[in-house]
């Protein structure tokens, strides 16, 4: 059975997404941008590429991912108390 990269990415799922996101962070560190290839890998882990087959939309998505990586850096830089819980902790009232 042959399997292309996109199909493999779907199967690999989360692991691919995590690796691709890490690659996106590396792209930004090294070049200030996220490469088209990295964004395509991120996309393929999500499902169909849809409108992001189009170069102009892909470029927008590259910018959006780059911006989110900048946001992520702000979050990761914030000093948090280890006991601080997130506001999504499940509870039964």
């Amino acid at each position: 059975m042959t399997i292309n990269r996109r199909q493999f990415a779907k199967v690999a799922g989360t692991a691919t997404l995590a690796a691709a996101w890490q690659q996106a962070c590396t792209d930004v560190d090294e070049t200030g941008e996220v490469s088209a290839e990295t964004v395509r890998t991120l996309l393929d882990a999500q499902g169909p590429r849809g409108i992001y087959e189009r170069p102009d939309e892909l470029d927008r998505l590259r910018v959006a991912v780059r911006n989110l990586i900048g946001v992520q850096a702000q979050l990761r830089d914030f000093p948090l108390d280890p006991d601080e819980q997130p506001l999504v902790v499940f509870w039964r009232g």
């Binding site: 997404l17 995590a18 691709a20 996101w21 991120l42 996309l43 882990a45 999500q46 499902g47 169909p48 849809g50 409108i51 992001y52 939309e57 927008r60 998505l61 910018v63 959006a64 991912v65 911006n67 989110l68 946001v71 992520q72 702000q74 979050l75 990761r76 914030f78 948090l80 108390d81 601080e84 819980q85 997130p86 506001l87 999504v88």
Partner: protein, 489 residues
């Protein structure tokens, strides 16, 4: 119906109905006719921001004439039988086109859902029906509750934005096109447009009002709230729509029994976030805001400067909204309908897709920072009856519309420049931590555009917030000012 009646408060309209001076059908017909005359533009809605309104305000995506008159007739029959369900009985209202209304199309401001007709009511619609209010129209908004992107014009000056995303709701309230309105807010979408047009708008405590049947932009941030021509309107409306709903598990079993008498202001404590007053671009604006604070002091309110913590609120909003929206709108990407979004939303939808890619750990980090901020804000605000800051530092900006969408669809909650970035914003903190906030007009800028203050309280303390707003409005008349007609270009 005489012109001034269109601008009556909820109490005024209710008294008109109770006295028999006018029936609900007559009142509703009058508002419908006024909407036909002043609001309907020469293009279909929903639509992109445009410049060919031909002087119409374009605040209404759908005018539900038939349904409104049926509901008004029912209201009249009940009144004749001695049954008055609430102070809202028989009063026509407009609701932001995010809330489902059975048999009346609900488009979410998008041409993707141009013909979407739900077969159910949102919880708020059911409650308003139970209160006897008359659903009249679905109000225009930025597509998918996006910020400054509605077709609705600002009745104070047609070349100015009515901000967003509850633009249609607030503009219609101020222009006397509806009896009252319902908006929604994720990061500012009731209070910011209220500020732009001089409406009174209340963002309730997160969890006060059920979101069942309302499009979700961000599950952990969305709130539904009232818009009116005064603070009392907001309290009267909130009383009817608040309450526990098992279909929205963020709601709590906590009654809101509104009291119209604000009581004595002497000794009330108001925390002033002075840093935001300095963000105003003009001395005129700063003077207007200071005079508003002086009114509170003359009433005996103890006014004290406060400091708010500088936290990465832009990063928190961006993370939480893009992840939650991106997840919520997955189907639009998968089936390709996202391609039909308006052109100004291209960057925004890319943000949603990026949000779906963000590691879950970072979303949780954002929610941890938010948890800390909630504790910090609770501690500060609890020292006062409320805290206050300009809703927006300046009057409404110019609508910049040319071929295509010229205003970048950036995250509308990002402060636009470095100076702004250094200043914590009460509104963004309050939205993140779920505090209620009331926007009320407090004067005008040099161009005759309204200026507004936001009064923010501790969670569940809407009455205290409304007390201060009502007391301020008893001493001033900014909320009674009407945009002059013909509207200024």
């Amino acid at each position: 119906m005489q012109e001034s009646n269109f601008f009556l408060t909820v109490r005024g309209l209710s008294e008109l109905l109770s006295s028999g001076a006018i029936s609900s059908v007559e009142l509703t017909e009058a508002y419908l006719d006024r909407a036909d005359e002043l609001d309907v533009p020469p293009f279909e809605l929903p639509n992109e921001p445009r410049t060919d309104h031909n002087g119409k305000l374009a605040t209404m995506v759908t005018i539900a004439r038939e349904q409104a008159l049926e509901a008004a007739a029912r209201a009249d029959r009940e009144l004749a039988a001695g049954r008055r369900r609430s102070i809202l009985h028989g009063i026509p209202y407009g609701v932001k086109d995010l809330l489902d209304t059975a048999g009346v199309r609900t488009t979410w401001g998008s041409r993707i859902f141009m013909d979407r007709v739900p077969d159910r009511n949102a919880a708020v619609i059911d409650r308003l029906e139970d209160s006897g209010a008359v659903l009249m129209a679905k109000m225009s908004l930025g597509e998918f509750a996006g910020g400054n992107t509605s077709t609705a014009l600002n009745p104070w000056k047609l070349d100015r934005t009515s901000f967003g995303s509850s633009s249609g709701t607030v503009a219609a309230a101020v222009a006397g096109l509806i009896g009252f309105g319902i908006g929604t807010e994720t990061g500012g979408s009731i209070v910011f447009p209220a500020s732009a047009v001089g409406a009174s708008g209340l963002r309730p405590t997160f969890g006060r009002v059920s979101r069942f049947g309302c499009m979700a932009l961000s599950w952990s941030l969305d709130k539904i709230g009232p818009v009116g021509r005064c603070a009392e309107d907001c309290g009267l409306i909130l009383e009817q729509i608040a309450g526990r709903d098992e279909r929205d598990n963020c709601t709590v079993d906590r009654a809101f029994d509104f009291r119209s008498d604000p009581g004595d202001m002497r000794g009330r404590r108001l925390g002033v976030h002075r840093a935001e007053f300095e963000l105003s671009q003009s001395e005129t604006n700063r003077q207007v805001f200071q005079e508003a604070l002086d009114v509170f002091e003359r009433m005996g309110v103890i006014v004290e400067d406060i400091t708010l913590p500088r936290r990465p609120t832009g990063a928190l909003f961006t993370t939480i909204v893009t992840v939650e929206s991106g997840t919520n709108f997955t189907a639009l990407f998968d089936d390709g309908s996202v391609d039909q979004m308006f052109s100004f939303n291209e960057d925004r939808r890319a943000g949603w897709m990026a949000g779906r890619m963000m590691p879950a750990a970072d979303y949780l980090t954002a929610q941890r920072i938010r948890n800390q901020l909630t504790r910090e804000a609770d501690e500060i605000v609890a020292r006062y009856d409320a805290v206050i800051a300009p809703t927006w530092p300046n009057g409404a900006a110019l609508r910049e519309v040319s071929g295509g969408w010229p205003i970048p669809a950036r995250n509308e909650w990002e402060p636009p420049d470095e100076f702004d970035r250094q200043t914590p914003r009460l509104n963004y903190i309050a939205n993140l931590v779920g505090h209620p906030g009331l926007a009320i007009p407090c004067g005008f800028d040099e161009d005759g555009l309204p200026l507004s203050l936001q009064i923010v309280g501790s969670a569940w303390e809407e009455q205290r917030v409304l007390d201060l707003g009502m007391a301020y409005q008893a001493e001033t008349d900014w909320h009674e000012r009407r945009p002059p007609y013909p509207w200024r270009g």
